[in-house]
């Protein structure tokens, strides 16, 4: 019989589980039932026992590793915590959210325990045993995989299932003692991008992507980067959108070309950038070629504004392509949004 352990961690507050952790818990509950497996939940955080209160009504053993050393994400302490939890649960299958915190450590934990790891899992299913779906080649090829070897660690992508909602009696919590190695790394803190206003909003309903065209010469032979900044920031503010960028635009900052001041490599979407999840996406001044569009895999509704009617977006990459000047259209969009408020 399989023994499933779901590893979870707390959010920045230190006392609540992250949404991605609760999604992993939901996956654990579902697959424990499907595979007739036992279920345990492991919690890592400064106040692990407090965070475990969100697991009310769950039929599972709940284990925590708590303490100040686990308040922050650090390889040496997190690997030790996860290693202890997997050993205590004697898990054969380990689910965990593909957060930056656990993506950093889980391959190392798997290695230490003689296990194997698969990452970026978007779906789980029971067939002849457990099968996991993930993407290869930057979201261009999809595969379903399985492993005969155990323990098998699976990092689950956030946003791929509903989160667990606890109700009922809070389970008894067992606290694990962990002996840490000498810690050579000290976490100083979290920093937002230097360029002022935060433009990356993972929970936004719409992703606005700016391409290099915003900083190119326009019909009058001039570059209008200041106007571009005003239009883009105005739109982001009006609809609480998240800002993405093509690689060519963010690379300009390193090549001393005209840049949009708030744009960094963190905004980059595509082959060497992020693959965010948003219900809608609007691309502007961008050609929509394959290396860029692979980052749009998980954007449901896609529209684009481009002056080129034969750009990549027209070839089945977008639902709607507006062949128009993004400067003109976005100015009018912003005016309508402002008037409507």
């Amino acid at each position: 019989m399989e023994k499933i352990l779901v590893l979870t961690h707390v959010d920045e507050s230190g006392a609540e589980l992250t949404r991605a952790s609760l999604e992993a818990v939901a996956a654990g509950v579902e697959m424990a039932e499907a595979l007739s497996a036992s279920l345990a939940i492991g919690v890592v955080g400064a106040q692990g026992a407090s965070a475990a209160q969100q697991l009310g009504g769950i039929k599972a053993r709940v284990l925590t590793v708590s303490g100040e050393e686990f308040s922050c994400a650090r390889y040496a302490s997190d690997t030790a915590a996860c290693e202890a939890l997997v050993k205590a649960a004697e898990a054969t299958l380990v689910f965990a959210p593909a957060s930056s915190r656990f993506a950093r450590v889980m391959p190392g934990v798997a290695y230490r325990l003689g296990g194997f790891v698969e990452t970026h899992i978007t779906a789980l299913a029971k067939s002849d045993g457990l099968e996991a779906t993930r993407w290869f080649y930057r979201q261009r090829i999809e595969a379903v995989v399985k492993r005969e070897t155990r323990p098998w660690f699976l990092l689950l992508e956030a946003g791929t299932r509903a989160a667990f909602v606890g109700s009922g009696a809070v389970p008894e919590v067992e606290t694990m003692a962990v002996t840490l190695p000498a810690l050579r790394t000290k976490v100083i803190g979290v920093r937002a991008p230097k360029q002022g206003e935060q433009t990356i909003r993972p929970d936004a309903k719409i992703l606005f992507v700016a391409g290099a065209g915003w900083t190119k010469k326009q019909a009058d032979g001039q570059v209008h980067s200041a106007e571009a900044e005003t239009l883009i920031l105005g739109f982001l503010k009006a609809v609480d959108a998240s800002l993405g960028s093509s690689k060519s635009l963010v690379d300009q900052s390193g090549e001393n070309q005209t840049v949009l001041k708030f744009m960094t490599h963190m905004n980059q979407i595509g082959q060497t950038g992020a693959t965010p999840r948003h219900p809608k996406g609007l691309s502007t001044c961008c050609h929509g070629e394959e290396p860029h569009v692979v980052g749009w895999r998980f954007i449901n509704e896609r529209r684009a504004i481009s002056l080129d009617p034969n750009c990549g977006w027209a070839r089945g990459k977008a639902d709607v392509l507006y062949v128009a000047d993004a400067f003109g259209v976005m100015a009018k969009v912003n005016a309508l949004l402002t008037a409507g408020k």
Partner: protein, 269 residues
Amino acid sequence: MANIFHVVVCASTVPDPLQTLEPVAGASGPGLKNEMMLPAVLDPWAASALYEAANLVAKHPGSKVWLVSLGPKAKVQQVMMTVAQKVPFELVAVDGPLGGFTDAHSTAAALAETIAAIPGLDRERLLLFGGWESASRGAGATMQMVGERLGVTDQFQGVDQIAVNDDGSFEVLERVEGGKHQASLCAGAPAVLGWATGNLAEPRNNPQVGMANMRGVMPALQKAKSVKLDANGLSYVSVSLPKQQRVTRVVRDVPEDEIAREIVQWIAE
């Protein structure tokens, strides 16, 4: 006291992102159609790691960069024609299978064994660089396991910046959720850094650097050790291209006002 780093960059070759990829079933598992014929590039995030390594070494005299690349020798040689002109390094080639469908655990084992055998490498000065994910397998798992196998337990992923202090300690910025960075202070080497994009532009080709590098590239390819990568119980139930092909409605010769109204309505839906 001067800070001397021995920087090992793990970097594979991947198909040029502009190429069309089509999965095919092979005798030993899935692969890509005409895989050996596809033009290749150095993995983009690993390339960022290489440029950051060269930048770091240039600031710390006595330091050195090794580029460890696992793949078919012919592919590595093809990619080196371009990459070798960018920054100085010593190539350590490992002749092995190509592609994203190989197992990360076996890849890590082969890389760790190769790195451990590099002559003159001081493990106390080791900074193990690579991309935080590849553009092929994209697991984001290999670097951590290479580090574990080499006994390096200060590890950072999604790195965009390293700043070395006079005492050899360094501050690292790692990407975390919500477009933020986590800042950490590490006591010093050894450490693993899986790079995101970093902050450096791609260096221009430098023929002098190219000539110096190429003197070592061909001998490194000739003495590349061959490895086979076990699947470790990993099997593929299916491998396919996404079927979604959107029917694009192209809107042209329509006034900007009308387009703007349609977009605003769509946003509100």
